[in-house]
Structures are given as structure tokens and as C-alpha cells.
């Protein structure tokens, strides 16, 4: 448990009771409280290094705060629109850093460290799985009040598949990026301008930092929208669809349109830097590496924009569908108690010591009944004398399955398929006629022409869209130009078979322009 238990307060210097408040006004006091809270958010990270000495084993060689900050970073970058970050992926990505900090130690220990850091940031031991810090403020009458500040850095959320995923909280992003209080849009614009200038001047290290910050902002945008949509699904009226959300959507769409232009410009610029860098000098190589990393980051930005844009376009229809569904649910004839409006909502505002009374009353009357079990003495004796059943950890023994080898009834062998594919592995600038391919195949193996013909016919209508989506670089195609096929075995058209090169990046760009 991490908590700043006691803020050092110098009681000797406190003014006597009833004197003027020491802070020059409530605003200053509030500002101090906000900074204390910001400071408290970093405490769990410092605490990691303080607590590592308590671990059984030699863990002095690890910089835990660094690993912790990296973990927050990774979770932020991996959390998607719908779910959070996968725990195993985050742990896997943490490992290289942990391993680099103390290479001679075994991999199992590295894994233990990564896990310990992640669990510490979730604060697995506490029931809330969060942190608490205590800070003090002056009340309206000048009296000093200690308050609890509860926060989480990484929280666990349910995924659609029933698993547990990780999300970073606003507080954690605060620790990581800083200045979350600033307007999202203005921060984004500032980051973009900075990025362009930096790239033009060739300051790639700074540019990378700026690009990463821009990406955090995008994640934040998506997070705001996700919450609004989630709430809409439950109740359209819970969300302000008159102004707030349409404004948010407009803003976000403008922002995406803007970002596409910027990012494509940036991408062109960086690619230029990357390709023009001299790879043989150490400095040039470093330059090239950074530029390549930047390209990756900007590409990821573009991917996130596409995702956000899809959601934005779905938002309107989702609202209308939910409105229809919720508004046209037929009203009944009689009325009952409004459980939410009259019970739940008023109750949540109460102090917990009062709120527990209505919930207790609801529990006592709303849980149903249980029939008590009646015990006979004779049964009890038997029950008490029965030795406890040993719990089987492994469960019942599984019968060995009887495996029967199924006869291999495929018409063509693996070797034949390989030979056929090799035949069809044509250079992209030299397509061939099917007749020629068939003749080649026949020379190798009398069975082969049939397979080649099948593959060629299959390629007559190639799944171009799928290939693009899967990022394939080449695709087999077959075209009929009207020439009849003259062959001893086959008839039909003498197809032109070739390999087309696909420009996956260009296609992605086209899709964006269209959108």
C-alpha cells in the first residue's frame, strides 16, 4: 500500500486558532491541494524503488521507477478504443527493459520484476486496488482538515471476452505526460506545430517526443468519446446530445481531417530525412534509426485516427438507433416506484454512513428467502465422523484418446503443391500464358497441370480487397483476353497469369482520402 501517510506539517509555525488563514485565499489553498495531489500520483513510482529492498532476493540492480513509468507508457499506448491493454502483451513489452537493466540475472527473475512492478502499480494488495494519499486544507472557518485523496494509476476493466484488461487512468497520464488540465485541442495543435518545425530543423529526438505526445492526445480524444457512447447505450438522456456530444464529434472530425494532412506531410518529410541520411557514419545511422522510429509512430497515429474516425461516423446512427429503441419502448399503464430516480440517485449523494440504511433495508427485503437446513443428530454424527474428502487438484484422470491415422486422401501431395506454386511465382513484370505454364508443369509431373490449371482459374477473380486488408504485397491474378486455350487435357481461355504488386500503404492513404 502506498500512501503519503503524513504530510510534514510544522505545528510550531501554525498561527493560533482563529487567526487569519495562512494561505492568501481559497484559490491558493486549492492550488496547493491540486499540486499535492499531482505529487501524490508520483508517489507509487518512487515507492517502487523504496520497497524493492523488502523483496526476498537481490533486486538492487533494477531501476523500478523507470520500469514503472515504462509500464504506464505501454498500457497507455496499447489500450484500444474498446478494451484496455492486454496484460500479457504489456508484460512482454516490459521485459526487454527489465532484462537490459540487469542482464546476468535469469529470465524468470526479469519476469518476476515486471510482474511485481505492474501489480504494484495496480496495487493488488488493497481491496480498492488503488492508492490513497492524505492532504490538508483549511476549511471556510480557518480550521485545518485532513482529507483522503483516492486515485488509481492502472485500473483493471472487464473486456468483451470476459477477460481482465488494463487501462491507465487520467491521473497516470497526468504523471506521464503532464498538463492534462489543458484543453485537449490546443495541446494537440501546439504539438503539431512543434513537430513540423522540429522535423524541418532535423531535431529528430525532440520530434519523436512531440509525436508521442500528440499520440497521447489522440488516445484521450478516443477515451472521451468512448465514455459518451457507452453512456448513450445505457440512456440517451444521460449524455448531452444537444450540444456537448455534437460539438465533440465536430471538433474531433475537424481534428482528424487536420491531422491527416499534417501527418501525411510529416510522413513525407521524415521519409525524406530517413532516406537521405548517410547510413555509414554513426551519426547518420542514428539519424536514420530515429527517422524510422518516427515513421512507425506517425503510422500508428494514422491508424488511431482511422479508428477514431470510424467511431465518430458511427456515433450519429448509434444515437438515433438508441433513441428509437429507448423512446419507443411502450409505456405501461400503471406506475411504480422509480428505482433509479427515487432511490438509487438520491442515495448515492448521501454520506455512506446514512446511505447504508436504505441499502440494508433493500437487502433485507429484496434478496428473497432461504430455507434453513434442519439437522438431525444422527446425520450430524455421521457427518462429523466422515474424513474430509481430499481435494483433487488435477481432477479426474483423462482417458488416453485412441488416435486413428486417417488415410491421406488428398489428390495432390505437398511437394506437388510446392512445385505448382513455384511455377506460378512469376516476376511481377513478366506474366505468362496458361498454355506455357501447363506445358512446363507437364514436363515435371503428369499430375501437375491439373493443379496449375486449378490455381490459375482460382486466380481469375482474386480477392483484392482481402489482400489489401491483410497487407499482402503481391497477388496472383489471371486475365482472359479472348485467346482460346489449345491443350490436350484442358479447354477454355488461355489465361494470362501474373503477379501483381500491391501498394498497401498507398491503398491505406486512398481509403483515408475517400473517407
Amino acid at each position: 500500500m502506498t500512501a503519503i501517510a503524513d504530510q510534514p506539517t510544522d505545528y510550531g509555525l501554525r498561527p493560533p486558532a482563529g487567526a487569519a488563514r495562512p494561505a492568501p485565499g481559497p484559490a491558493a489553498d486549492e492550488g496547493l491541494a491540486r499540486r499535492l495531489k499531482a505529487l501524490a500520483c508520483t508517489a507509487p513510482l518512487h515507492d517502487l524503488d523504496n520497497r524493492k529492498v523488502n523483496l526476498a532476493g537481490e533486486y538492487g540492480g533494477y531501476a523500478m521507477a523507470e520500469v514503472g513509468l515504462a509500464a504506464i507508457d505501454l498500457v497507455t499506448l496499447h489500450m484500444d478504443f474498446d478494451t484496455g491493454a492486454d496484460r500479457d502483451i504489456v508484460l512482454g513489452r516490459m521485459l526487454p527493459r527489465v532484462a537490459a537493466q540487469n542482464p546476468p540475472r535469469p529470465a524468470a527473475e526479469h519476469e518476476r520484476v515486471a510482474r511485481w512492478v505492474l501489480e504494484s502499480l495496480i496495487n493488488v494488495g488493497s481491496v480498492d486496488r488503488g492508492f490513497r494519499a492524505v492532504y490538508g486544507t483549511f476549511g471556510p472557518d480557518g480550521e485545518y482538515v485532513r482529507r483522503d485523496y483516492d486515485f488509481k494509476l492502472i485500473e483493471e476493466v472487464p473486456g468483451p471476452d470476459g477477460g481482465v484488461y488494463l487501462r491507465t487512468t487520467d491521473e497516470a497520464v497526468n504523471v506521464l505526460v503532464g498538463a492534462l488540465d489543458t484543453d485537449v485541442t490546443s495541446a494537440q495543435i501546439a504539438a503539431e506545430v512543434k513537430l513540423e518545425v522540429l522535423i524541418r530543423r532535423g531535431r529528430l529526438a525532440d520530434a519523436q517526443l512531440a509525436a508521442e505526445q500528440a499520440r497521447y492526445r489522440t488516445v484521450q480524444y478516443a477515451e472521451t468519446l468512448r465514455r459518451a457512447l457507452d453512456a448513450t447505450r445505457r440512456n440517451v438522456r444521460a449524455v448531452d446530445w444537444m450540444q456537448a456530444v455534437p460539438d465533440l464529434i465536430d471538433e474531433a472530425l475537424d481534428h482528424i481531417a487536420d491531422r491527416y494532412r499534417h501527418e501525411n506531410a510529416i510522413l513525407t518529410n521524415i521519409r525524406k530525412v530517413r532516406d537521405e541520411s548517410e547510413p555509414h557514419t554513426p551519426e547518420g545511422a542514428e539519424h536514420k534509426r530515429r527517422a524510422a522510429e518516427l515513421v512507425d509512430i506517425v503510422k500508428d497515429c494514422i491508424r488511431r485516427h482511422t479508428q477514431l474516425q470510424t467511431r465518430l461516423l458511427e456515433a450519429g446512427p448509434l444515437f438515433r438507433a438508441e433513441q428509437d429503441r429507448q423512446a419507443f419502448a411502450s409505456p405501461g399503464v400503471r406506475t411504480g416506484i422509480d428505482l433509479y430516480g427515487q432511490l438509487l440517485a438520491p442515495l448515492l449523494r448521501l454520506p455512506v454512513e446514512q446511505a447504508v440504511r436504505p441499502t440494508d433495508a433493500f437487502f433485507a427485503r429484496g434478496t428473497g428467502l432461504r430455507t434453513p437446513t434442519a439437522v438431525r443428530v444422527t446425520d450430524l454424527v455421521d457427518l462429523l465422523l466422515t474424513p474430509p474428502v481430499e481435494r483433487e487438484h488435477l481432477g479426474a484422470e483423462l482417458p488416453d484418446p485412441d488416435l486413428v491415422a486417417t488415410p491421406d486422401d488428398s489428390r495432390f501431395s505437398e511437394a506437388q503443391l510446392e512445385a505448382a506454386l513455384e511455377l506460378l511465382d512469376l516476376p511481377s513484370d513478366a506474366p505468362r500464358r496458361l498454355s506455357g505454364l501447363l506445358a512446363d508443369a507437364r514436363r515435371q509431373d503428369p499430375e501437375l497441370p491439373y493443379l496449375v490449371a486449378l490455381l490459375a482459374v482460382h486466380a481469375a477473380s482474386p480477392p483484392v480487397g482481402t489482400a489489401y486488408r491483410q497487407g499482402e504485397e503481391r497477388l496472383l491474378f489471371a486475365v482472359d483476353d479472348g485467346t482460346p486455350l489449345r491443350d490436350v487435357e484442358f479447354g477454355g481461355a488461355d489465361l494470362i497469369v501474373g503477379n501483381a504488386l500491391l501498394d498497401a500503404a498507398g491503398m491505406a492513404a486512398d481509403r483515408k482520402d475517400a473517407g
Partner: protein, 290 residues
């Protein structure tokens, strides 16, 4: 049942009602015992259906059955073909569920006690989002475990936003944890959590909601329909009766006792009176309509 001492159309003033025999008492007790098996429905058991019909058509028998139930510490909510003999435990009855038996932790920790109670209330609020739903006998509520948690969290978030907008400091005083706003207790508890054995983390809000839902299934109040979203359930007639006739009014009485008077216009209309009004009648409809 046709051959009975008191035909329903018999005039009220008939002087000597036929004496009830021990066999009638046994039948009445049998009906109550069916009612205690909360998951059993008259549609599934011919004898049960027969007794329910007799309860409806034979007033002396009905009075006898009700008396047996009352004597055992039960409150009869309804006797009908759809719900069977819906009985609830009276306050001090042996059948009543106590918080300490329900969750050992809830007995000692007041915040956990509150969370468990709130989970039950939230399940009901999500199952019957509008007042009409609670009143309409034909309404089947549908809830998911994750949905209930998200629904409460959303309500908490709105309260937090309101407090922020009003400039209130909601952080509780360290020496008076009981004065912490109720919504904060739910909001700061983790929603879920990874455990060593891949089970639900029992102390998380989803774990607490899941426990409430499973308990309600055992009470014959919910039926599981799917595993989606932490488990999808639909309500039974009994649950509606229990919430409508007992639980909601009981909790409301406590709330009024605390000086909180929640006002409702009582109308079944879906139009909220005030745009800025906190989630009005149809708060938190189920996630997915099937």
C-alpha cells in the same frame, strides 16, 4: 377443483361453512412448501398448479394457506399461475437472509456492507429502469453483470462532475470516513481484477454484483440467459413482486426517515420535465435488447 365445501359463488351469509379437515390443512401447508421452493413454477408441477387453482377458487382454503404462511413467518405477495405462491420472509423469520450469512466481510466492514446492499439495489434499478416496468406485470427485465457495474459507475461519474462543477471538495475527511459520499465508495473500488485462479475478484464491484446476481438466481428471482458481459439474466415475476411490494418501499421508508424526499411526478410518460434533470424515468436501460 370443482367439488368443494365452499363454492365461490356461494352467498357470503351462508351460516355454517363446512369444517376444514386435517387433509385441507395438509394441502395448505403443501402449497406453502411449494412456495418456499422459489425456483419451482406451477407450470412445471401439476400438483402445485392444482393447489394454486384451489387457492384462487376456494376462499376458505386460501385463508387457511395464507394463515399457515403467516404463522411460519412468511408474507404472501401473490398466488397466481405465473408466480406460484410468491412468499417473502418476514422481518424476523427463520427464512430471512442476514447480511452476515451472505458475506462475512460485509458483516464487519461497513463499506462492504454498503456495496453489497447497493449492488442489490442497482440490479433491481437496472432490471426495472422505468416506474412503468416495475408496475407492468408482463415486463421482463434484462440485466448483465458488467452492465450493472457500468450503470452505477456512470451515475457516480455524473455526481462527481456535478460536485466538480459546484466546486465542492468531495475528498472525505481522514478522521470521519463515514461522511464520505456514497458514490465515492463505489467509484474508488476496482471494477474487476486479475486473480491467481482466474475467478472473479470477490471484492471488486463486478465481483460484488456477480455475487448478488447469483444469489438472486438461487432465490428464483433471475434466470441466466447467456454468459455475455459477465452473465446475462432476465427477471422472473417473483422478483418484480418482491421489489415492488417489499424492497423498494422498505428502502424508500428508510430514505424518507433520513429526511430525503425524492419527488417524482408519478406519471408513466417518458418525457423528462426538465432537460437538466438527472437521468429521469428511463435511467439505464439494458445494454442490449434481444
Amino acid at each position: 377443483m370443482t367439488t368443494h365445501h365452499d363454492a365461490p359463488w356461494a352467498p357470503e351469509a351462508e351460516p355454517a361453512p363446512a369444517a376444514l379437515t386435517p387433509a385441507d390443512v395438509a394441502d395448505a401447508a403443501r402449497l406453502v412448501s411449494f412456495g418456499l421452493q422459489a425456483k419451482l413454477l406451477p407450470a412445471r408441477d401439476a400438483e402445485y398448479a392444482e393447489l394454486v387453482r384451489r387457492h384462487r377458487e376456494d376462499p376458505p382454503f386460501a385463508r387457511l394457506a395464507d394463515a399457515v404462511a403467516t404463522g411460519m413467518g412468511l408474507v404472501v405477495l401473490e398466488v397466481s399461475a405465473r408466480a406460484g405462491m410468491a412468499v417473502a420472509a418476514a422481518e424476523d423469520s427463520v427464512f430471512a437472509v442476514r447480511m452476515g450469512d451472505y458475506s462475512r466481510r460485509a458483516a464487519s466492514e461497513s463499506t462492504d456492507r454498503f456495496l453489497h446492499g447497493l449492488a442489490h439495489l442497482a440490479v433491481a434499478a437496472m432490471a426495472f429502469p422505468r416506474p412503468e416496468d416495475l408496475a407492468d406485470d408482463g415486463y421482463l427485465g434484462r440485466i448483465t453483470v458488467n452492465g450493472v457495474d457500468a450503470f452505477v459507475r456512470q451515475a457516480c461519474r455524473r455526481l462527481e462532475e456535478q460536485a466538480d462543477a459546484a466546486g465542492d471538495n468531495t475528498d472525505p475527511q481522514s478522521d470521519a470516513p463515514g461522511l464520505e459520499a456514497a458514490w465515492r465508495v463505489w467509484a474508488r473500488r476496482t471494477a474487476t481484477g486479475a486473480t491467481k485462479d482466474a475467478r472473479r475478484l470477490s471484492g471488486s464491484t463486478i465481483g460484488i454484483t456477480g455475487k448478488a446476481v447469483l444469489f438472486l438466481v438461487d432465490s428464483g428471482f433471475l434466470q441466466k440467459t447467456a454468459d455475455d458481459a459477465g452473465g446475462t439474466y432476465r427477471t422472473t415475476a417473483r422478483y418484480q413482486l418482491q421489489v415492488r411490494d417489499l424492497a423498494a418501499s422498505g428502502a424508500m421508508a428508510e430514505l424518507l426517515d433520513l429526511g430525503v424526499v425524492p419527488v417524482s411526478d408519478g406519471s408513466a410518460t417518458l418525457l423528462p420535465a426538465d432537460h437538466s434533470e438527472e437521468l429521469v424515468a428511463d435511467a439505464g436501460l439494458p445494454f442490449h435488447s434481444l
